[in-house]
Amino acid sequence: MQQTPNAHAVPGSGERPQETVLSLTHAAKTFGPVVALADGTIEIQAGEIHALVGENGAGKSTLVKILAGLHHPDSGDFRLSGEPVHFRNVAESKAAGISVIYQEPTLFPDLTVAENIFIGRQPKGRSRLISRSEMRRQAAELFRRLGVPIDPSRVAEGLSIADQQIIEIAKAISLDAKVLVMDEPTAALSGVEVDRLFAVARALRDKGTGILFISHRFDEVFDLCDRITVMRDGRYIATHRTADVTVERIVREMVGRDIATLFPKAEAEIGHTVLKVEGLSSAGVFRDISFEVRAGEIVALAGLVGAGRTEVARAVFGIDPYDSGRIEVEGKPLKARDPQAAIAAGLGFVPEDRRKQGLVMNLSVARNVTLTLREKFLTAGLINGAKERRAAQEWSKRLQVKAGSQEHAVSTLSGGNQQKVVLAKWLATDPRLLIIDEPTRGIDVGTKSEVHRLISDLAVRGIAILMISSELPEVLGMADRVLVMREGRITAHLDRAAADPESVMHAATSSTGVTE
């Protein structure tokens, strides 16, 4: 039954027949050229905890946003207790009984706990004014039911993330939620807090609430959940009863895809060491990071979102400070906190957020391409427009940027072409090392392989490449070596031959990392 791509074919969990409280079938959602969700299918029963797992970019967040009423699916069938629903906004989804708790709750810091729970629907007293005492009483009652001691009259500011989540759950209960969606709730919690959260979740399940639990941590998924749904590339893959399945099988389903055909990696000659990082630490962010990248080599930094990969790259490039350690580029120490020095030393950085970090969206293609090498177009100290235009033209042509004109704002280009403009901008500086953070995020499948081909070409030309990617196939298909990070530390150094989905996923998720 596991491979049926259809929720209707998935029977309920065996012995005790249950009522399906929420079902989403074949939901699709696209944003311009980007397909965020191709087949979102999930079915949640009353009184079960249902896990949703998948790699980053598998479409989990889009699915959650559809449930929450933030996105409208382009197609598909969405039912609550058998009735078709079409949510136009978050309020309608909430009113229908779906509550979503995000990783970082968004409480109003200056309001009290009770005010946060009853915001917008405060209980009124006889005078038609808000009755604070009634609000406090109801909030205290909610916390008593949840078995957690939180003072309803304290302000929300200063509460731990765990307590804030409990308050969100209390809010959900007070709204009489039939379905509770928890999007990576444990990412920022300590062990004790996780236990308390799970106790609350189990209590709610036993009272008949359907819970959708999204997590990257398999131990938690297997500990807490009754059933598991796997997604990959925006598609439903399978639903299993937890008792019938192993971690290995789930991992295989999450990453299973023919990697070789997607990533045309060319063999490059590996040369001298370009970047050498030794014992780099930044309190609370990452610790004791050491690695090298050589000319012509593609080194991937793999791991889950939040493992500290981007932070390491930002520190290397001089955007953020670090506490200790050294960075050398071609044998010379690199100045900390100085991106200009990093660029001068031959570093380039293609950041993960193109719209905010990689490009100046309202500037033209040409201006963006030449933004990094402003100094190179000077004639007697002033910018020479003709030189600038020629360089922009040349680089957009080399990378085959498809745009109506050099003068069009980059915001009018598709994601893939925007990424090419970012690459062009850095290639124009003739870099020795290029840091590429999530090279294909938000890019459609066709253009993805074009970007991969480009990166591979750069390595062949002798540029050292440090690639951060949350997409396992991309990591395994492109990298000569894979460094896996988890919770701010490098937990595995894997050679191309040793890197496979299981070893990378294992090092990224479980606490006992494999080292070479």
Binding site: F31, P264, V401, G404, G442, G446, T447
Partner: protein, 385 residues
Amino acid sequence: MSETTTPRSKPAPAAAVADSTKPLADEPKGRTGAARILASRDAITIYALLAFLVYAAITIPRFASPVTTGFLLLDVIPVLLIAMPMTLIIITGEIDLSVASTAGLTSALMGVLWAGGMDIWLVLAICLLAGTAAGMFNGFLIAVLGLPSLAVTIGTLALFRGLALVVIGDNAVANFPKELTAFFTSKLGGTGIPTVMIGVVLVMLFFGILLHFTPFGRGLYAMGYSKEAATFVGIKVARSKFWLYVASGVVASLAGIYWTLRYTSARSDNASGLELAVIAAVLLGGVSIFGGKGTIPGVIAGVLLIGTLNYALRLGRVSDVVLITVTGLLLIASVVAPSIGSGIKEWRHTRRVRRSFSRDTGGGSTAPHRVQKTDRTKEKENNDV
């Protein structure tokens, strides 16, 4: 999106995509560079200025004369000066409200020092230093400590004006050297153009070249749109901002000196309220209050347009109340007009998409409202994916 954009490639097998790429054409399609410049936001301000000048010259007697040119320019010089650094500051997404108070403080200092018997050139040097210090103070709070410029400069607006009062009190100093005050109102031959205009033109050239032809200026646009994107290309955001505020302080003190000598009066309330006139003119000149957009030629046209309008209405014996109202309406119109323009564009785009949609699906609708989404909202949603 307009029809000039090339269609995006459809997802296809990897090899096919690699081969079917259509690289950027050598000759830009659609609107050429020249056409783009001629239709840009600041060009429109320049047209408006020219149109109004022609209209005023024809309809208002005595308008087209060297006397008009002289008085008009003498009146707009303080705004014109301060608008230059202000343009750069607003392009980076910040603001400086303390400029008029800096000018007032300079004027007060000038009066007291001159009345105290100091050499006039030393007085002028100290005044410029005071402006520099005022700018450094703003720059330190905003660029180094990272405080919001709106709050900081509202504070220094009051602070510098207060200091001016402390320095000179309710007194006024008027007995400045005759040859100096005469120089400040003198004209270049029979043209009616004030001699000091030469200096003002130099300031305009300085800021125009700085903004449009130097790497520093390029960096300001990037900063105004996204500080992070600017940091990622090695632009020193804090340092650039600090020097902009210093420049603003220096130019404000120049305006204060001009004001004092042009009206031969050093008082604590000189140039009071000028900051709003400057900002209004800058915005009218096509600079975006959100940063990232604007040009010096546009701003010069904006300043001259407001100045000419005021002068013409005054010649026509229109009361000050009407003057202020007209200026206000003009400013609102200039801010609203681009939104109306893009609104119309979106509406036309929506209609086109809707028409092609109903053609494709034979009018059937799973949910047509989704397809009508404009590119801008799509972009926003892409961010959330």
